[in-house]
Every structure is written in structure tokens, then in C-alpha cells.
């Protein structure tokens, strides 16, 4: 296959980043963090709303309906990560990412065990209500979810013939 190389000149962005003026990296980051922090309350409202949406996704009534429902649940879990990740709510993000992984690998030819979605929605709700200081309780929630993820996402080796 032929490869055509297009040499690039210095982009406008490259030229301007080192031009006179601007701010120090330290100041830029401090400002950005302050701006992000100002959105914390809004982010928590978005997380709550996404969990409600996740809980509300009905179990698919048929295989034909399944991809659409899985897509809805995936978008809600994705929304949780979107809103929670800038605020370092890592356990919420891990729980939501675990669900995204499972939904992304969900079978299209056989029924998906919808209890996984229900369990994750409840766990996310619990993580939202548990105080951050209760690290052990939060970790326990994640541990139980991890078990679900492992059971559902790791292909079991075939049973050897005896």
C-alpha cells in the first residue's frame, strides 16, 4: 500500500504557545482547578440524575430490544464517569466503568442478565450516599461489584474432558 507523507509546517497553536504573554503553567492549572471545583455541586446533580436514568432503564422484553436498552444503560453509566471523574470520585468512576465494560461486552445473541445493571445502579446510589470518610464501606461496595465484573467478563476456561 502506498504511503503519502504530508510534511507539516509549524501550526498556529505551536507558534502561539511560546509567544510573549500568557500565564505560567502553575497559574493556569490553579485557575482551571478552581473553575472545575466551582462546578462540583452541578456535577453531583448530574451524577444523581444519571443514576436515576440508569435505574429507570427497563429490562429488555426481547432480544431485539436488548441492544437499545443496553445502549441506554451504557450512556447513563458513561454519564456518571463524565461528571464524577473531574472531582476524583474514583470509586464511583470504577463502579460505572465496570458496568460499561460489561455492557460493552454484552452478548447480542442471548439474553443479558439485567440484574447486573440493577446491582450496579444500587451500588452507585450507595456510593453517592456513603460519606467519603467511610473508606472501608465504600471499598466493600466496590469489592462486591468487582466480583460481579469478574464473574461476568472473564471467559471461563473450557471444562477438560475426563
Amino acid at each position: 500500500m502506498s504511503v503519502i507523507t504530508h510534511a507539516r509546517g509549524k501550526s498556529r497553536l505551536a507558534a502561539m504557545i511560546d509567544s510573549a504573554g500568557g500565564v505560567s503553567v502553575g497559574v493556569a492549572l490553579a485557575q482551571a482547578r478552581e473553575n472545575i471545583e466551582a462546578m462540583r455541586a452541578q456535577a453531583m446533580a448530574v451524577v444523581d440524575a444519571q443514576i436515576v436514568l440508569l435505574e429507570a432503564v427497563p429490562k429488555p422484553a426481547s432480544i431485539e430490544e436488548q441492544p437499545g436498552r443496553i445502549g441506554e444503560a451504557y450512556r447513563a453509566a458513561n454519564g456518571v464517569i463524565d461528571a464524577a471523574s473531574p472531582f476524583e470520585l474514583l470509586d464511583l468512576c470504577r463502579a460505572a466503568a465496570g458496568l460499561c465494560d460489561i455492557l460493552d461486552n454484552a452478548p447480542s445473541d442471548r439474553p443479558f442478565d439485567w440484574r447486573i445493571v440493577t446491582v450496579h445502579a444500587r451500588a452507585l446510589k450507595l456510593l453517592q450516599t456513603l460519606p467519603l470518610e467511610q473508606a472501608d464501606s465504600r471499598a466493600a461496595v466496590l469489592d462486591s461489584l468487582r466480583e460481579v465484573v469478574e464473574r461476568k467478563s472473564i471467559p471461563k476456561p473450557p471444562v477438560p474432558d475426563r
Binding site: 500500500m1 502506498s2 504511503v3 503519502i4 507523507t5 504530508h6 510534511a7 507539516r8 501550526s11 498556529r12 497553536l13 505551536a14 502561539m16 504557545i17 511560546d18 509567544s19 510573549a20 504573554g21 500568557g22 500565564v23 505560567s24 503553567v25 502553575g26 493556569a28 492549572l29 490553579a30 485557575q31 482551571a32 482547578r33 478552581e34 473553575n35 472545575i36 466551582a38 462546578m39 452541578q42 456535577a43 448530574v46 450512556r75 453509566a77 458513561n78 454519564g79 464517569i81 463524565d82 461528571a83 471523574s85 473531574p86 476524583e88 474514583l90 468512576c93 460505572a96 466503568a97 460499561c100 465494560d101 460493552d104 461486552n105
Partner: protein
């Protein structure tokens, strides 16, 4: 004995991103595309902290396409997951269908979760960088500085048009922060531990 002083540097771009180094992004014509109003606000707020006034904030790829067709843009930050036309499709269109300079505009894609089925698309669409969340101001600024200084030529190979992907290890160095890579590493480590435990059990 003298006091050792070491200036704090940010992982990723080493000397170039010292906290005391100065960057000027005030004139960058920037476009942010995200279907989530909150995601859009958040990215614009972070960029505002860096001195970037976002010129175009778009809720859909279609809205972005109209602008990209005739307005020069210096930096694009686009969410991967969007309904109808997603981020990958938008970047592919930008690279293949728009005339320079926009066809070569630095593009940073953001993803809350990277679908396994989309990994190849992420590699092949022509973006300069895909940032998986957790989203942090540091990560975003590192990537912006990195794409600004990215000198890789653009390649046209079959359907692909974008930065040369053959160049290895040119991305930001430092601690791994990509959620998918961290999860993958944790998964591999867990598998290795389980295999080792199984082997030890068999030996006993």
C-alpha cells in the same frame, strides 16, 4: 549542608511543562464539541483557566461540521461518544473532507469509557490524542502542550489520513493515567496472581 531545591515538574512533558514555565494560548481559536451540556461547560471552564477563550462550543458533530468547513480552527477538543455522528466519525470527516489548514488541526478526543469495539476507530480516525477519563486539568493541559508541539508528519495510507502512527513512544511519558490501560494492567496482574496461586497450589 545546602538545602536541595527541585522545581516541581508535571509528569508527561518534562522540562516543557514546569509549573513556572509560561504558555500563551490566549489567541487559540478553539472548538469544543460535546453532546452533554455539563461536559461541554466543564471542558470550556478548564480551558478558560488555561487562558483559552473557547470560540465555538458545539452540542453536536453536525453543528461543528458547518463551522469547520470554512472557519480556521487552531485546536479541537471533542467527546468520543455522541449520538448520530460520534467523535470518531467527525475526526475522520475532518481529516478526509476538509481542506487544510483545518484538516491538520490538532484534535484531542476525550472518552469517559473506551468501548472495546471503538479502539480501532480511535486509532484510525486521525486524532492526535485520545484522553480517557478521569479528567484532570493537568492531563488536559499536558495533552494540549503535547499536541501543540507534535511535529509528526501527516500520512495518507489507504483510508487513513492523520498523524504518523508508526512513531513509537512519542506520547507523554510519566505515570500511566489512561483508565483503560490501568484497568487492563490490573486485569493482567490479577490473572498472573491467580495463575501463580494455582501453580503454587498444584506444587503443594
Amino acid at each position: 549542608m545546602g538545602v536541595q531545591f527541585r522545581e516541581r515538574t508535571l509528569s508527561g512533558v518534562g522540562e516543557a511543562l514546569r509549573e513556572s514555565s509560561v504558555i500563551n494560548l490566549t489567541g487559540a481559536v478553539t472548538m469544543v464539541i460535546d453532546d452533554s451540556p455539563f461536559g461541554l461547560d466543564l471542558t470550556c471552564s478548564a480551558l478558560r483557566g488555561f487562558g483559552i477563550r473557547v470560540r465555538y462550543s458545539c452540542h453536536s458533530a453536525a453543528a461543528a461540521m458547518e463551522i469547520l468547513a470554512d472557519q480556521p480552527i487552531d485546536l479541537i477538543v471533542v467527546d468520543c461518544e455522541m449520538p448520530t455522528v460520534d467523535g470518531y466519525e467527525l475526526v475522520r470527516w475532518l481529516r478526509r473532507s476538509v481542506k487544510p489548514p483545518n484538516a491538520m488541526t490538532p484534535v484531542i478526543m476525550t472518552a469517559a469509557h473506551m468501548r472495546r469495539s471503538k479502539m480501532l476507530e480511535a486509532r484510525d480516525c486521525g486524532a492526535n490524542f485520545v484522553v480517557t477519563k478521569p479528567f484532570s486539568a493537568t492531563t488536559l493541559l499536558e495533552r494540549i502542550v503535547w499536541v501543540a508541539r507534535d511535529t509528526r508528519p501527516f500520512l495518507e495510507v489507504g483510508d487513513y489520513f492523520g498523524p504518523d502512527r508508526r512513531v513509537r513512544d512519542t506520547g507523554p511519558k510519566g505515570e500511566e493515567r489512561r483508565a483503560a490501560a490501568i484497568r487492563q494492567a490490573a486485569f493482567v496482574a490479577e490473572q498472573a496472581r491467580a495463575a501463580a496461586a494455582e501453580a503454587a497450589e498444584e506444587l503443594q
